[in-house]
């Protein structure tokens, strides 16, 4: 063991000093290592797991893309109705739920389906009756030149309201509603906004709160029309060439992951997505 008392000449404690400095250096290096490691570990923990929104966005994109493809496929097949796609939408929701549950994410999708009814470029409309809880975007482009100049109107029933559209000698009129327009090849009769051409009609479409909507004596009309219908039941059957189609679907999606809860409503239409 080295001599611990101050030796003669003062050089006997050099070994102790070296040992002491070694210990000091070792402690410094250990402290430095702990400091650097703590910084790296903190950084890693803070950035671990990537973007927590990725799972939610992936779910939204998957459901929206699948629904958009379904609407296009059903419309291409022709005469699609809500009853045709409701089970498929439920399956899309179910399959996504299975996939995301594997990663600990709970998902849920609810939807509202908007159906369209149209007839294009017809010399006389077909008669039909539909069950609707709501109607919007009901626009008829009347071809007045192809309507007979006689006292024989075609009629639209909206709940309890009957609208008779007739041609007089040089005008198209909605009888008893104080609106008319000069005869031409394309007169816009916007039923939901209550206008015929630039004329406002007396009836108020807002009064319609669900029920039957009907076209009667359609043979007396001519042109094209389209309307968007929502219904909780089967909207009915329609004679050719009246077509039904899926106009759009409102998706109400929700996903809960350990990191976040995400809910959003998205409108999916064949021509695009209104996110």
């Amino acid at each position: 063991m080295a001599q611990v008392t101050r030796p003669r000449g003062g050089e006997g404690n050099r070994g102790q000093m070296i040992l002491l400095m070694g210990v000091v250096l070792a402690v410094m290096f250990v402290a430095l290592a702990l400091l650097v490691n703590a910084a790296i570990y903190t950084d890693n923990v803070a950035t671990r797991g990537g973007d927590p929104a990725a799972e939610a966005l992936e779910y939204q994109n998957g459901v929206v893309d699948s629904t958009e493809g379904l609407i296009e496929a059903e419309n291409d097949a022709g005469n699609a109705t809500a009853d045709d796609i409701r089970p498929a939408l439920e399956n899309i929701s179910r399959y996504h739920r299975q996939y995301h549950l594997r990663r600990g994410a709970a998902t849920e999708t609810e939807f509202d389906i908007y159906q369209g009814i149209n007839e294009t470029d017809q010399d006389g409309f077909k008669d039909w009756t539909a069950n609707a809880s709501d109607v919007r975007g009901f626009v008829i482009y009347i071809d007045g030149t192809r309507m007979a100049n006689s006292d024989s109107p075609f009629s639209i029933y909206l709940g309890g309201t009957k609208l008779n559209v007739n041609r007089t000698s040089d005008e198209i009129v909605v009888e008893g509603q104080s609106c008319s327009e000069s005869v031409s090849g394309s007169i816009e009769f916007n039923v939901t906004s209550g206008t015929l051409g630039s004329d406002s009609c007396d009836f108020d479409f807002q009064d319609f709160d669900g029920g039957e909507i009907e076209i009667e004596d359609g043979d007396n009309g001519a042109g094209s029309y389209e309307l968007i219908v929502t219904s909780d039941e089967n909207i009915g059957s329609f004679p050719s060439p009246v077509k039904t189609f899926i106009h759009s679907v409102d998706l109400h999606i929700r996903i809960d992951t350990p990191e976040l809860s995400y809910a959003r409503s998205v409108t999916v239409a064949p021509e695009g997505v209104d996110a």
Binding site: G22, N91, Y95, Y99
Partner: protein, 196 residues
């Protein structure tokens, strides 16, 4: 005697200094291949890369093409992804647009990957491996993307343009999970990536 003691003390001090240096450098070592939390950034980057790759491939239709790249005539009629060896899976990106995306984005950066297609089967799900490069490492990351398939979706392999609705039962790996509508199935593509 004193000289010997000093020598021993000097050795002890040297050992302590060197040990401290080794410990410090080892403990704080950060390399891309470190099997520690140090490579978390690499994992995050890979995760973001394959999420972006899947999103882009889904948008441009390459992902749909890839899951429909199915040859019904091989493997004794059971079918397999077109152009795969006897194992039934590709050893690199498949020979279609999605494979080009995978090879260009991952293989060129020395990132290995597996691709699995998951589909509904009865009340649960089943899988069809598409690409298998090996067993993923502990630091592998994964990302998924779902693809809707419809009765009118056509097979994309050369020489067969039949639609899914025209195929007999068992010709395609995923069964028709919704026979009452135009929906055929919703499949999930999972890419698992790790550094070679």
């Amino acid at each position: 005697m004193r000289g010997q003691a000093h020598t021993v003390e000097a050795f002890a001090a040297a050992v302590l200094v060197v040990s401290g240096l080794v410990f410090a450098t080892q403990a704080a070592a950060v390399t891309p291949l470190s099997a520690s939390t140090s490579n978390q950034h690499i994992e995050n980057q890979q995760q973001a890369t394959i999420e972006g790759l899947l999103a882009a491939s889904a948008d441009n239709g390459n992902l749909t093409e890839a899951v429909l790249y199915w040859d019904t005539s091989v493997d004794d009629g059971d079918g397999a992804f077109a152009g795969t060896p006897d194992s039934g899976t590709y050893a690199t990106g498949p020979p279609n647009g999605f494979g080009t995306d995978l090879n260009g984005t991952l293989s060129s950066r020395q990132i290995a990957f597996n691709v699995v297609v998951r589909y509904p089967d009865g009340d649960g799900t089943d899988t069809e491996p598409m690409v298998r490069m090996g067993e993923p490492s502990d630091n592998a990351v994964s990302a998924t993307r779902t693809v809707g398939l419809y009765d009118g979706s056509q097979l994309s392999a050369d020489g067969d343009d039949r639609s899914l609705g025209e195929l007999a039962d068992g010709e395609f790996y995923a069964p028709d999970s919704d026979s009452g509508s135009q929906l055929y199935a919703v499949v999930e593509v999972e890419v698992i990536a790790w550094r070679k």
